[in-house]
Amino acid sequence: MTQLKDKAPLGKVIVITSGKGGVGKTTSAAAIAAALAKRDFKTVVIDFDVGLRNLDMIMGCERRVVFDFINVIQGEARLKQALIRDKRLDTLWILPTSQTRDKDALTKEGVEKVLNELKEQFDYIICDSPAGIERGAQLAMYFADEAVVVTNPEVSSVRDSDRVLGLLASKTKRAEDEGAEVKAQVLVTRLDQRRIDAGEMMTIDDVLEILAVPLLGVIPESTAVLRASNVGMPIVLDEPSAASRGYEAAVARLLGEEVDTQTERDKKPGFFSRLFGAPA
């Protein structure tokens, strides 16, 4: 396999998950993948939401889908045939899913095989999880090295994220084989300061106190997000906005943490770094 860079690909698997639907998982997966690719990391984003495929639309490549993730798992196509290269960034690739099958088409062995093949070629493999905590979501997180838990600052979303954090600590390959936790960080999306001020939304501190994991970033509610997804543009490739800056900062933090993940086990973040580790 020829590489753009001289060194071996990082092969890091990051799942974007949340439990609750509609919190911004796919938007975040697309934005994080694009921001990593912008920094010259060879990145692929995989849609695990079999039957409700959305990622290709957010990425603006829905008309270029011929073969998909499920075809590859079932041996009907080679990985190379299913990967779609982004037209804007040549380090960014998409592995779309099937709209006609369902989540039973995903198998643990199949997912592992595809991920292992991708690890040999890519620095970052971003898994866009479906909502819920059923099979599709569990397979999306099973092989992850790290997790980004997307949460809106409201009680039901936070509670579902807490449930997902519990699964990340027990129902992943890392947890089962090594008894180690998948490193999880929370990305708070759709933050509306006016609604927080009005007492209608939870504050970042409230969210972090409940979830007790490090804060990866905060994405403000923004019309730019909707506009970008309507035209199939990952938000960080669109014109600058508060949301795109939020994602850029989140990715910077994700890479900053990269150094720590080299050690076998992560140290729990201290109380102060949790509270003051990131701007709200």
Binding site: D160, D162, R163, G166, G179
Partner: protein, 234 residues
């Protein structure tokens, strides 16, 4: 008396018995053993371990026992004895440095004579459990035979149960049920109360019936006159 270099004390402690169910252990037996040890690592690692031959009087191969002993010790478990062994099995066990533990009529099945008592806590309260992490939504933690101590928070939608007391060094947002076997003396302690439900020996209060002044406070809950009381700890 203080000058005495040695004091002899009687000790009881809880040991964990691994009961063998097949006469000849094969690959699937060892796979099942690995799985058991992994799934119950909290319970088994560091605790004194016995092999129970009750169901397998025919288990008499030196090689099989040797393999089993090595497999268990390789997992870091402290295997020290056997119980319900036939004289033949006893003799074999001795070769591997395992002592026969007699299970007397008066002794509860899970108590065995101490060889190397590790912690006095085991002696005082068999079955206590300490959890060093947050209990997340949807998770259930049970201490069937003792107290449950959580060093962390209990999330909304999580449940913690104990036959004894429950101590939570963190925020209790979920449900805590102490004295689940009917112990009316059991209590619940937590550093910050935001519970969905508190119950002791089946008597409960929900968030709606907990006085608002107590919310977010360091409290204890206990039964008195068949009523659940919650009181601030100062």
């Amino acid at each position: 008396m203080r000058a005495e270099p040695i004091q002899v004390r009687g000790r009881f402690l809880t040991a964990i018995a691994i009961r063998i169910e097949v006469d000849t252990p094969d690959a699937s037996f060892f796979a099942a053993l690995d799985e058991k040890i992994r799934s119950a690592a909290n319970l088994m690692v560091g605790a004194p371990i016995l092999l129970d031959f009750e169901k397998v009087p025919g288990f008499a191969s030196r090689d099989h026992l040797g393999e089993l002993v090595r497999a268990i010790r390789a997992k870091g478990l402290l295997l020290f004895g056997v119980q319900n062994a036939t004289p033949e099995q006893q003799a074999l066990a001795e070769e591997f440095g395992l002592i026969q533990v007699l299970v007397g009529r008066d002794t509860p099945v899970q108590q065995a004579r101490a060889v190397s008592p590790r912690r006095s806590r085991l002696v005082a309260q068999p079955g206590n459990k300490v959890i060093h992490r947050h209990v997340r939504s949807g998770q259930l933690v049970v201490a069937e035979r003792g107290d449950l101590t959580i060093i962390g928070s209990v999330a909304s939608g999580a449940e913690v149960l104990a036959s004894g007391n429950i101590h939570i060094y963190g925020t209790l947002r979920g449900r805590a049920m102490a004295g689940v076997e009917g112990d009316t003396n059991a209590r619940i302690f937590c550093s910050k109360l935001e519970a969905e439900l508190l119950a002791i020996a089946g008597l409960f209060k929900t968030s709606e019936t907990i006085h608002p002044d107590l919310r977010r406070c360091n409290v204890q809950a206990f039964l008195e006159d068949e009523t659940l009381h919650i009181e601030r700890l100062v």
